[in-house]
């Protein structure tokens, strides 16, 4: 499932960088608190929760966005943090429960680390959310 933002909206925000920055400053703290509580969000600024079974892949110590590494323990726990279930074990399980079709097969582009800390909602509206898609 891909979230589609009409190009009119993207253009609107692109042409108004000051408004976009202001919106980001206002929304980012709210987004951080709410998504941190529910999903353990790390504010990468390029949210793909809807494509990873509502499991934040940034909780992975290797920040893997394209699936699990080869070091997952037999009990499904992380090799780095033994007390934690691998985020991709959760993502795989949960994505089957979601009403929309699975997007685990989609190759996620490399992160734009300069967006870390910014609001992914505003980034989505401004069209910088998947800047790396062509990479």
């Amino acid at each position: 499932m891909a979230i589609h933002i009409p190009s009119r909206v993207v253009r609107f925000f692109r042409e108004r960088p000051r408004l976009t920055r202001g919106l980001d400053r206002t929304i980012a703290p709210f987004e951080a608190v709410s998504k941190k509580l529910v999903f353990g969000c790390r504010m990468c600024g390029q949210c793909i929760l809807h494509e990873t079974g509502l499991t934040c892949p940034m909780g992975c110590p290797k920040t893997l966005r394209n699936g699990p590494c080869g070091g997952v323990r037999m009990n499904g726990h992380c090799e780095v943090i033994p007390g934690m279930t691998c985020v991709w074990v959760k993502a795989e399980r949960r994505s089957r429960l979601l009403p929309w079709s699975s997007t685990l097969l989609k190759i996620q582009p490399a992160l734009d680390w300069s967006l870390k800390g910014s609001s992914s909602w505003v980034n989505l509206l401004a069209g910088v959310h998947d800047k790396g898609a062509g990479r």
Binding site: K62, P68, C69, V72, V89, E92, L105, P109, A110, R135
Partner: protein
């Protein structure tokens, strides 16, 4: 068998391809093995290990700071092997380098004659001797595969800036069928194929049943028809090593049966090593019955001497041996000269 590799349609397909790529296209079981790069500044140590295995394999894997511990640079070791006329497969992990360093190293590798690269996530340093180091993981293995293919096929950096001349890399990847989530593993393999991987080497197979189940799913997805898969195998050297791999190495599955067999072999060195090699050869035999496997990747874990024995007993014939046999035959028939042996190698 593998004539419709995904990369062959692209510009890279016009190029000649290295010995390893040709071996994969030949259709016979291909053999690779891993050597350690060592903890020293002596190039001779790398050469010595390379010479131990060179006649028994098609290509030699050179790891990148295995188990999250520093060792001699894989790129340097691979370049030393190239000097020796040995075909290396360079491991490139995302643990220690960001996208700038990775791209620089890929170009450097190509410039040094290192053509085969294996894209991995990289063992986390938490289990190594520098657990306090900063992990990088700027991009992941999937993105690294795509990046290496972009450098090769499009001749552009990630940023889009042009590279001239572009490197000619043969890009591979890995998969571990023995780590959860098991259902996701074949899908992840398919993703790697789509990202541009052109060969696969797997984690060490001790549990053949689980590997067979994985391969069934892989064949259902049709992956094996386009992507040569080399099954990982390893000789267990001692009962202690068997226990260590079972209990302490995440993502490795050692069945109780094998631990028991190693225990029965006892502490005597010759007996336990013989049993370890025998188990390894048995596993290769069972794996050969599974359709869709293009060859074997031997990980001797500091026991390079064992490689020749395993290959011989398993009846595998890598290119060098085949070539030498061809040369021997030519000696018997003086009318045929050396070049014919080369063409034989191409055909076989």
């Amino acid at each position: 068998m593998n004539d419709n590799l995904p990369g062959n349609a692209g510009p890279a397909g016009a190029r000649s391809g290295g010995a390893f790529e040709r071996a994969l296209a030949s259709g016979r079981p291909v053999v690779t093995c891993e050597i350690s790069t060592g903890d020293g500044a002596d190039p001779e140590a790398v050469r010595r290990r390379g010479r131990l295995v060179r006649d028994h394999v098609d290509a030699v894997n050179v790891p990148d700071n295995t188990a999250g511990m520093p060792h001699m640079s894989g790129l340097a070791a691979a370049a030393i092997l190239v000097q020796e006329g040995i075909e290396p497969i360079l491991h490139v992990t995302c643990r220690d380098r960001n996208r700038l360093a990775l791209q620089g190293d890929l170009l450097g590798a190509a410039a040094l004659g290192v053509r085969n690269i294996l894209c991995l996530t990289g063992d986390h340093m938490v289990h190594g001797d520098h657990p306090d180091a900063k992990p990088v993981y700027d991009i992941d293995s999937m993105q690294l595969i795509r990046l290496a293919r972009r450098l090769t096929d499009e001749g552009r950096y990630m940023s889009g800036r042009e590279i001239k001349p572009r490197p000619d890399l043969f890009v591979g990847a890995v998969e571990n069928p023995f780590a959860p989530p098991y259902d996701f593993r074949p899908i992840r393999l398919q993703k790697k194929q789509e990202a541009g991987a052109r060969f696969i080497q797997t984690q060490i197979v001790f549990n053949v049943e689980r590997f067979a189940a994985f391969m069934t799913r892989v064949r259902d997805l049709g992956i094996d028809r386009h992507l040569p898969i080399l099954a990982g195998v390893a000789p267990i050297r001692s009962p202690r090593a068997a226990r260590h791999m079972r209990d302490n190495v995440a993502g490795m599955e050692v069945p109780e049966e094998l631990v028991r067999r190693m225990d029965q072999a006892g502490p005597d060195r010759a007996r336990r090593e013989e049993e370890g090699i025998r188990i390894c050869v048995e596993i290769i035999g069972r794996l050969r019955a599974i359709p869709g496997i293009a060859g074997f990747h031997i990980m001797p874990i500091h026991w390079e001497d064992a490689v020749g024995e395993i290959v011989r007993r398993a009846g595998l014939i890598p290119a060098r041996t085949a070539q030498r046999r061809a040369v021997d035959t030519d000696r018997l028939v003086p009318a045929t000269t050396a070049p014919s042996s080369v063409s034989k190698e191409h055909r076989s």
